[in-house]
């Protein structure tokens, strides 16, 4: 589904150059559940946003479903993004001015889906996330766990092929965090590809595959079950 080839991302801020990602090679197959881990500043978020087409690499090649997207126009990228990718963020990133319902409805509006259908789908997903009783609340009126469930609902409402999650449990207590992890796990089992950035080793265990970054380079890439605690230390 995804293939990154010798991908590099360099930030140039006035005269300082930061290499956030260096010669990344990564292949993601459909149905995988990948956890990306590593110390702060190692380039995890950068990698995820390149995967989500919110950022573009400085060099190297990114293939999505077999097509090289490096020369796609902005509109085409937006089109690809809104049909196939769902995002979940650490800081939830719900729009404060919109209600729960309106937040979840938003991606469907960008997909130009009819109002009737939108209503059905939003209500279904809110029920599934057990947040339907809060549909008319504004994000600030919800707890962190509830907000993250709304964010997941928003990511799922388009039935994406790929879910990108950047520290989805970072702002949640362990109970809520676990609930979100279980949700992602269940989604993956239903066939959605999930790529998740996390700091917690425990959460790494939910994934099939673990990618460890250090200073913008892939250090480890293997099936997570074989993780051995000594390596982490």
């Amino acid at each position: 589904m995804i293939s990154l080839n010798n991908l590099t991302r360099v930030y140039r801020a006035s005269d300082v150059e930061t290499t956030a990602l260096k010669s990344i090679n990564l292949t993601v197959k459909e149905g995988e559940f990948i956890a990306i881990m590593g110390p702060s500043g190692c380039g995890k978020s950068t990698l995820l946003s390149i995967l989500g087409m919110l950022d573009s690499p400085s060099s190297g090649c990114y293939q999505f479903n077999g097509d090289d997207i490096s020369d796609y126009s902005e509109a085409k990228l937006a089109q690809l993004r809104k049909t196939s990718i769902g995002f979940v963020f650490q800081s939830f990133n719900l729009i404060d001015e919109l209600t729960v319902y309106e937040n979840v409805e938003l991606p469907l509006q960008y997909l130009k889906i009819s109002k009737k259908q939108r209503k059905d789908r939003v209500e279904a997903i809110l029920r599934r996330m057990a947040i339907d009783h809060r549909a008319d609340h504004l994000p600030q009126q919800l707890s962190g766990g509830q907000q993250q469930r709304v964010a997941v609902a928003r990511a799922l409402v388009i039935n994406p092929k790929l879910i990108l999650a950047d520290e989805p449990t970072g702002n949640l207590d362990s109970k809520n965090g676990e609930a979100v992890m279980n949700m992602l796990r269940a989604l993956n089992q239903a066939g959605t590809t999930v790529i998740m950035v996390t700091h917690a080793e425990k959460e790494g265990n939910y994934a099939d595959r673990l990618v460890r970054l250090l200073d913008g380079q892939i250090m480890v890439d293997k099936a997570s079950q074989t993780i051995d605690t000594t390596e982490v230390a």
Binding site: F87, N93, L98, Y110, R154
Partner: protein
Amino acid sequence: MLTNYFTTAMRAFKKDSQHFLLNVFGLSVGLGAAIIVALFTQYEFSYDRQQPDAERVYRVAQDFAKLGMGIVPYTQYRNVALSLKHSQVEDAFALTWFGSAKTDVKYQGQGYKLTEVFGATPNIEHFINMNTLAGDLKAALSTPDSLALIEFEALRIFGNVNVIGQMLSHESGQFTIRAVFADLPENTHFAFKSLAYKEHDPAEVYDLSNAVYIKLTEQADVKAFEKLFDEQSIAHPTMGKMPLSLVPLVDLHFTAKSKAEFKIGGDKQNVMICVGLSALLILIASFNFINMTVAQSTKRAKEVGVRKALGATRTQLVVQFLSESVLMSLLATVIACSLVELVLPSFNALVGRELALDYGSSNAIVIVLMAVLVGVVAGLYPALFISSFSAKRVLSGDLLHGSTATLVRKCLLVLQASISIALIISTVVMNQQLAYLQSLPLGYETKGRLVVSGVSAEHVYTKETSVLLNKLNNIEGVRQTTVLGYFPTEPPLFGTEMIWPNGEKSIDAIPITGSGFNVVQGLGLKLLAGRDFSPEFSGDWMSEASDLNIRHVGAIVTQSVAKRAGFSNVADIIGKTISDPSPQFATDMKVVGVVADVIIGNGQTELIYLCGYPNLTAFYVMMTIDMQNLPTIEQQVVQLIGEHTHSFEPKVDLLVDSYRAVYRDDERISQVVSISTYLAIFLSMLGTFGLAAFSVLRRQKEVAVRKVLGASVLSIVNLLAKEFLLLVTLGIVFAFPVSYWFIADWLTNFNHTVEQSLWVYLGAAGFVGAITWLTVASLGFKAASTRPSLILRYE
């Protein structure tokens, strides 16, 4: 999707209501000013466009330069007949001065003065869009002794308009009212109140009292016709050939400047100044909008990031933020319209027009278009800026700290500061200039002078003091009276070519006026040599032609005339004779006195006073009075004039008021500039306030830390204000040269001008600096006084 934009916008406005209100209010003021000026401009350009075939109608202008009168809209009636011979002319129309002989009328024993009475050819409706309320206009203008009254006069005299067949008696007969027509609209150069039957004689050659209008055919070549028409015109028997030209009817409001016009026209320069000022106001309001929106944009960064992640393209985001600013601008327009409704009456009084906002007309569309345009123009940069936020940075929790388009914001603030400074400088210099003009030595007195206009010569202008003049002189509080052949603030219309005492001819016409005895005393002229006119010298008053048909008259000349005659020592002209050689009016003028120059109108200084010279049929009586007796004097004057001359409702003016009226136009424009200046400063400060609030918020932590480290409140306030004061300083650099150039250009309109002084410039800069400091300080002081613990705890 639009409803989604709308909800987001409304909730974002609500969340940040302070900035929202500042923004909307600022835009409302700017738009309000623009709407008023747009109405004014539209009105100024609408003059006479309502007349039938207006774009094909021209008025004949005659060049009276030989008489010192410039281009005047009057000519002989025979030019009507002359023009009709041409195939290019479809129709011609004449409006003729009626004179004042029959305009004092009586109805049921009560006397009335009919003012602005004209004779007109019966085809008036081919040229003027008349609305006849009663009777038949054409019949009135083709039947002898008929009168057509304007609604206003009909109501004044009769109390209603159904007065067809009523009679008004005058000295030598009576008028029958045959038509009543509606009041003329304000936006026409025509200003008659009554139309009387007038017999026109195409063979008549002397009479120059006809305003002639010519309607050309659609195919006519105006230039060619004008040339031909001028060539064919016949020389005046006494004044010679005076060039004719054609002026388009629709241009008359702006181009006709003669004192002899029906009414004072408009000034294109003033309209342009108004347009420029309102554009500046909109610009400042838009700058505020841009500045505040951009400064606040971090608050919308997350939304932008999320929308991008969810698949919004940049175009969609730009459209979203643009629709937000258009929405805001539309809202501001609604408020602006209410502001306009509130302010329009005062503005109308200021510019002397009757503007109204008519939502049913094309006005509404124009206003909505303007609102959308302002919304798009002001919103474009912020929309592009906000929509360019990187989704990646926002979404990975990396709050946006970097650039918030500070450079653009600073530039806009600099521009605003320079506009404010430049406007203040202009206002001050304009007011200085007007005050200076009014303080110039006029050469005559305006204080305590009352002028009665239009008193017929036989009753006051006589060698032996007339009964009426005696009675006027004896009114309690009247110190002196004299009779004048011109109104002291308006240049005399009459002038003639002279032969100077040394035998040389004057190159052009020298203005002359008749005057009674003691004119130096009565007008308060400054005598430089010789003496005043006096009954003691029997040679002063004009003698009738005796030897060789030459009249003899005493003359008092102004200094400039004496100089022009070649006398550098003005006293030397006393006793010499200046002569008017024209065959009909040959006159020898013996100079008895020289007075300092008098400034009349826009600065004319040459004038010869001739004792007893009959340049008019009705004269002006100048009275020097004790001001505390003014009401009783006015009352007795009216009564005495009515009794002795059968002239009713005479025009009585205080010279001080008439003098002020001369500068009314300049005063008006200076007032418009002043008001715009206040608004511009207000709007700029609104913007500074908004930005300062933002900057204070951003530097809250810095302020708290500095306080902990022991900084005083004042030093913190100054620290916050420094950024803004620096920008004001930069604004000065732009404002000074630009204002200097603009004002120097404006000052070329005047003969006598003030110097542009440095302190005005420094004062304006200091003022804007001080206001900026105060604005920032009001916010900074609060921030600096907050206990640091309250802020640092949140970190």
